[in-house]
């Protein structure tokens, strides 16, 4: 029997106990349907013994499956009066889980390929400023968005209430950083939205000054919609000039 240490595989590379189990089974080139419980259980436990790199949370999950393996093994060792019927094979529960898992694993490989393909196709995340209608600020929302929005609202309120009155000073740099952080995530920052989110007039004022600074420094560009539209300002990240 080859020593499992021959495979220098860290436990971390496994997505979980089932992943490890599947790896061991494949390594032995055996069918999931007829797992030699004694061998697999031993190999599995061997892996767990090199556990210095797994943390407690995951260890519990790995141990759970270890317990299952030992249980199945013990069931199979029990002397029986008559041979087990097929569906009573104590391994069945494990087999089913592994088959499900294997399928999922294969599907996730497939998604990975699709992802790779799609990564090479670029779609626009925003329309050029010339076209910017105010639809831009509208996003399709889901139940999660709704609940999340409320959660954020409560959080904001909570912290606002806990904060006792302090000499409210807002740093210009902080506000500039806020804007840049936002632009890291999104292509645009809706100017009005941003100011509405400031908690006080003073804070909004500093945020505005921060914006002016960024424009002056040519780090961002504020784009106004064409011609006769109501004033609506868009900010977008401008690529740093290489020249």
């Amino acid at each position: 029997m080859e020593a499992s240490s021959h495979y220098q595989v860290k436990l971390e590379v496994f997505q979980g106990p089932l992943d490890l189990l599947l790896f061991l089974i494949r390594k032995k080139k055996i069918k999931i349907h007829d797992i030699p419980m004694a061998t697999i259980t031993r190999e599995y436990l061997d892996y767990l013994n090199q556990k210095d790199r797994i943390n407690l949370d995951r260890e519990a999950e790995f141990l759970l499956v270890a317990a299952l393996l030992i249980y199945i093994k013990s069931q199979m060792l029990l002397p029986r009066e008559k041979p087990l019927e097929e569906e009573k094979d104590p391994r069945q529960i494990l087999v089913d889980r592994l088959l499900d898992y294997e399928r999922m694993k294969a599907a996730s490989g497939l998604l990975k390929e699709k992802e790779e393909e799609e990564m090479q196709r670029w779609k626009r995340t925003a329309l050029p400023a010339v076209f910017s209608e105010d639809e831009m600020e509208y996003t399709e929302v889901s139940l999660f968005d709704l609940a999340e929005s409320f959660f954020a609202l409560m959080k904001r309120k909570e912290t606002a209430e806990i904060k006792t009155i302090k000499g409210q000073e807002y740093s210009l740099e902080e506000k500039m950083k806020e804007i840049l952080d936002h632009l890291e995530e999104e292509d645009f920052l809706d100017f009005l939205d941003h100011f509405n989110r400031q908690e006080s007039f003073e804070e909004a004022l500093v945020a505005f000054l921060g914006l002016l600074e960024l424009i002056k420094a040519r780090i961002v560009t504020a784009v106004q919609e064409t011609h006769f539209r109501p004033i609506k300002v868009w900010i977008r990240k401008k690529n740093v000039k290489s020249s």
Binding site: D57, W122, A126, E135, A147, F150, K238
Partner: protein, 187 residues
């Protein structure tokens, strides 16, 4: 090769959020010489003159940019209007969430929760019929009270308002930091 260059330039103009200048194009396509690039751009522009295309490349602000044709303006406006109908701004979403979780609620209460005057967004939500007026509060001034509507439930695919994720569930989803999970992007 030339055609390929034309194609590349087209995709660059497509992806640019601002008019893409000749310098920038040259800066990206370092393995092509300037002449080739300029010629390819000219040819590219020509194909848009002759072809029956819904979009075209225009020159603006010293660069090249995709644009729709003026004569299609009314259709595009219709599309944007249609899309707008189904969408909510983040302010509207926030207001809606305040109502959903605190109903029945008054405008003053909504504004207090959000920290900003919410009359405008409330109006939008009423127009979209996501929110309805259900009566008046028995308190000074008898303010109107609001609730989410049936349409609200349909919009979010809920059978019952009780099916909303609870604040506890949301905090569990959003706040829990589980260091053990393996979320670093794979290369």
């Amino acid at each position: 090769m030339e055609n390929r260059l034309k194609e590349i330039i087209e995709s660059l103009i497509f992806m640019s959020l601002e008019p893409l200048t000749l310098e920038k194009i040259k800066g990206v396509l370092t393995e092509f010489n300037e002449r080739e690039i300029e010629q390819a751009i000219n040819e590219l522009l020509e194909t848009f003159v002759t072809n029956e295309r819904g979009i075209q490349i225009i020159q603006a602000a010293g660069g090249y940019l995709f644009s729709t044709k003026p004569e299609h303006d009314s259709w595009i406006k219709r599309l944007l209007k249609l899309e707008r109908k189904n969408r909510l701004s983040s302010a509207a979403l926030e207001t809606l969430s305040a109502i959903a979780y605190h109903q029945p609620i008054t405008l003053a209460e909504i504004s207090a929760l959000r920290g900003v005057d919410s009359s405008h967004t409330l109006k939008t939500l009423l127009q979209k019929r996501l929110v309805k007026i259900v009566g008046r509060k028995k308190s000074p001034g008898n303010p109107l009270i609001y609730r989410t509507s049936e349409k609200f439930l349909a919009y979010f695919g809920l059978n019952n308002i009780k099916d909303l994720p609870s604040p506890e569930e949301m905090s569990k989803i959003l706040e829990e930091e589980n260091i053990s999970e393996e979320d670093s992007p794979t290369q």
